[in-house]
Amino acid sequence: MAGRASVWNDAAVQALAQRFVPATDESWRLQTSADPEARFFRVMVEGTPEPVGGSRQGTYVCTPDGRLLARGNSTDPRRIEAVLRQGLAAWEALPPAERTQAAPESARAAHRWEDSFPVDGLALTAIHRDLARAEDGTLQPQAGRWNLDHVWFSRDEARQWLPSEPVVGARTALPEALVRRWASFHLVDNVRGQEGPFAPEDIEQAEIATVVTRSEGTRVELAIEGRTRAESDGTWKLGRNHWDKFPNRARGVSAQLTGRAVFDWATHRFVEFRMVALGEAWGGSGLNGRRADVATRHPLAWRFTLVGDTPADRIAPAFVDIYGAAWVRRPDANLSAGE
């Protein structure tokens, strides 16, 4: 993930990007899925629709009808700048008729997890940050050490954060399935890179509850408190899925949660939501930058707020495919490989 900042925060690369239509996507699905969009990608870069191993992360330049013009993968902005310039030169060398082709319908996805975005539910942006101890002993965010994700709850699940009678003082414990979603998939140590989820057997403690602090008109204000602790021995326990090849190692996370939210009965929506989890992480795959060190506790924090309304705000949660929620639309069986 280093390239996200080193390459795309670079002023020269940003200026050059304006001469393209920029797009992003998830690499592993395009490498391995049976979806038409992924098969089209593989024909473009590999010359075959068959799944490919290894890594195809990187930057590609192509025509709108899918002719590859340049590609490269580096965290060095100058190398990616060179890829973009190479692609631009190849584009400008094309006859005009080859620059005005339509995008092939055969590249349209049959399934994307973003299709399940809970329009009428609760969708949150998560910011994950490493903390460090300052000289005075306080915890401070480490500059540049952050990642993001999204958290989704359906309309019915969002309603489960509230009591049946919204009177001040009413306490609601989140149902086990929702607390587990937090502990398994959203209080994960992926600040420095993706880390694996926790299985139900790994969750040693998980409690989240709301208390009504105010009720006026159609609006109910909630205080949120909770704590979770999960520890994996490195054994994969979540069955066969997209993540079962992920390098799984001993790791753990403990966290305490504090939040505040406002739900509006008139629209059946949360109109405010702020929650912070403060905790510690240890061990991991190595992809999370902890070098599989289970002895050292790393302080970190997660912040959860309502999503905005841009397409980027609808990117699916990293572990949406193993949420186990019936409302999340899965790919058809014949397209499910690699999803």
């Binding site: 998830e26 930057t59 590609y60 330049v61 899918g66 965010p141 505040r260 924090a301 912040r303 990117i315």
Partner: protein, 94 residues
């Protein structure tokens, strides 16, 4: 940026708890070290955890959010497509 004063107090208390728990197991310490944030300092913590503007400049690029949407937009604009791929969506958890 400096943590809210009350937040710093909470962290200092958590360190004291850590010292007091030094005789316990590592598992016990891991639980005891973490103190909840007070409701009164929640907004300050939310602000503190906002990534620095210069660190999120890449989000200002008007990215299409999937390959096919990129191809369609490139055809519309009659420009080449720049496609950036990572394991985990680059605009999400990667």
């Amino acid at each position: 940026m400096v943590a809210p004063r009350s937040a710093r107090l909470a962290v200092a208390l958590s360190l004291l708890a850590l010292l007091a728990a030094c005789a316990g197991s590592a598992r016990h310490l891991a639980v005891e070290r973490t103190q909840p944030i007070a409701q009164q300092t929640l907004d300050e913590w939310c602000a503190l955890l906002e990534p620095e503007a210069e660190a999120r400049a890449w989000q200002a690029i008007p990215w299409q959010t999937n390959f096919h949407a990129g191809l369609a937009a490139a055809a519309e604009a009659q420009r080449p497509l720049l496609l950036w791929l990572m394991n985990g969506h680059p605009l999400g958890c990667t």
